[in-house]
């Protein structure tokens, strides 16, 4: 088990180092997500009261759309020049590769969430009323999206159509995360009178199931 986590750390560090060099998150994914927030503002006629009400849902739609880019990027790193073959021959457990890649996507999504929360505070005038709920539910939803995205990225990659099929496969599966994270953020941002902590439970369960399932299934998915 210790070897599994050590290898996962190696993979995550590699992916994050590549991200730090290529700056895809900073130069492409984050601007895309912020642009989505701005466009929602235009679409809703810049009515700040309406925007504040819908801000949690708009934020999580932006996160999910941006996560597609992050997952595709994570998958393409291994397939661009055949590195995935090297990983299969390395003797690393497939679960290590899954956990490492999911962890790297999670870190990027966490950064993205922070940027988007700042974005809705600045653009929509939202206020944070329960910071703890905001942080914990953001982390739980981030784990859910990263684990599910990495799992489906491997699945779509195995089918040989990763760029086109991934959104169709992934977005419906993430619907419960979108609903749960939006309700939790409704509470944390004071946008609606709901029990955000109860919705957090859904996110935690989803995240755990996605992580365990992904770790167990990744080996079968990356085999030809």
């Amino acid at each position: 088990m210790r070897e599994v986590f050590a290898d996962a750390l190696l993979i995550a560090a590699k992916d994050l180092r590549i991200e730090a060099r290529s700056r895809v998150l900073v130069n492409q994914v984050a601007p895309f997500a912020l642009l989505v927030l701005v466009l929602f503002g235009f679409a809703l006629d810049a009515d700040q009261r309406t925007l504040r009400t819908f801000a949690p849902g708009l934020l999580w739609v932006a996160v999910l759309l941006a996560s597609l880019l992050a997952v595709q990027r994570s998958t393409s790193l291994e397939h661009a020049d055949g590195a995935h073959t090297g990983l299969r021959l390395s003797g690393m457990a497939p679960s290590s590769v899954f956990l490492g890649k999911a962890a790297a996507v999670f870190v990027q999504l966490a950064v993205l969430e922070v940027l988007l929360v700042v974005g809705i505070v600045v653009l929509y005038g939202s206020t944070v009323e329960d910071p703890l709920l905001l942080v914990v539910s953001g982390l739980a939803a981030g784990v859910s999206v990263a684990a599910t995205g990495t799992l489906y990225g491997a699945l779509a990659s195995g089918l040989g159509v990763r760029e086109t099929l991934l959104p169709i496969l992934l977005l419906p599966v993430l619907a419960p995360v979108l609903i749960g994270a939006t309700r939790a953020f409704d509470d944390a941002l004071g946008a609606a009178a709901v029990d955000g902590w109860a919705w957090l439970g859904l996110l935690v369960v989803f995240g755990l199931v996605a992580t365990v399932l992904g770790a167990l299934a990744h080996g079968a998915l990356i085999e030809d």
Partner: protein
């Protein structure tokens, strides 16, 4: 038995040797037992038989040149030996393991060079080599030591090692890729066109790598169209056509299984 002597000990010694991945493995094969033993191996790519009942036996320390026309099955044969494709039929044993059930045991002990370099474009050459050493389960100091050795063998200088891979030429990438494989010190090298895209210095470095591996007791299978170059490294030439072996010169270089099919003739013509 060629190549039986060297740092890894003779084949029959069953000498424990550190393999990476935190374990010590013991050579399970013995004198008279082949590193690669294929009998009637069939591999299907979709419904197409890329290997159609192929027989091949390779002993420890041998260097074998695989030749044949494009689409003959050479690359599929290398991928089968690496445990990357499943045999649909036949008996397939590599490094003493049955590939239908023990693929992971084989994978960690082979190095496969394909057309893709397996490198990460945004990491430097040095970072790539080091990553693959760590991915093989080597500790920090062992990874550093082996990386230095591989870098020296492939003639990679410090200036080149500090560059991101996307800034390297095709030949420099190829040598970096070989260095990232060499750090694993595999028991079986599977090389698909290793001289492709290399200048004279790079080609000489590849030849040195192969000689070094064989002198250390490893076994090498090379698929190449550069026959004269590889023949200087290997007295044994195996011709593959239409997914079967149609000619095997044998270990001494003399033909033991002459061409007897139209495919063999096609292979010879293509390679001429």
């Amino acid at each position: 038995m060629p190549g039986g002597d060297g740092p890894r000990g003779s084949v029959g010694d069953a000498v424990p040797r550190r393999q990476g991945r935190g374990e010590v493995s013991v050579h399970r094969y013995r004198d008279g037992v082949s590193v690669v033993e294929l009998r009637g191996a069939v591999v299907l790519l979709g419904r197409f038989p890329a290997l159609a009942g192929l027989d091949l036996s390779v002993d420890v320390g041998e260097t074998v040149l695989l030749q044949g026309p494009n689409g003959a099955g050479k690359t599929t044969l290398l991928m089968l030996c690496a445990g990357l494709v499943r045999p649909a039929d036949g008996e397939v044993r590599v490094l003493g393991h049955d590939l239908t059930v023990e693929r992971r045991e084989v994978r960690r002990r082979v190095a496969l060079l394909r057309h893709g370099t397996g490198l990460y474009e945004d990491l430097t050459a040095a970072e790539n080599i080091r990553f693959w050493a760590r991915a093989a389960g080597l500790g920090e100091s062992e990874a550093t030591s082996r990386a230095a050795s591989a870098v020296g063998l492939l003639g990679l200088d410090d200036r080149l090692l500090g560059r991101p891979v996307h800034a390297l030429s095709a030949g420099q990438r190829r040598r970096t890729s070989l260095a990232s494989l060499a750090v694993r010190r595999p028991d079986l090298w599977l090389l698909d066109e290793p001289h492709a895209g290399l200048d004279q210095v790079g080609r000489d470095a590849v030849d040195s790598l192969i000689r070094d591996a064989v002198s250390a007791g490893a076994t090498v299978l090379v698929a190449s169209h550069e026959l004269e170059r590889v023949r200087s490294l290997s007295p044994r030439v195996v011709t593959v056509a239409a997914g079967v072996v149609v000619r095997d010169s044998g270990r001494g270089g003399g033909t033991t299984r002459p061409a007897c099919t139209p495919e063999a003739a096609t292979g010879e013509a293509a390679d001429a």
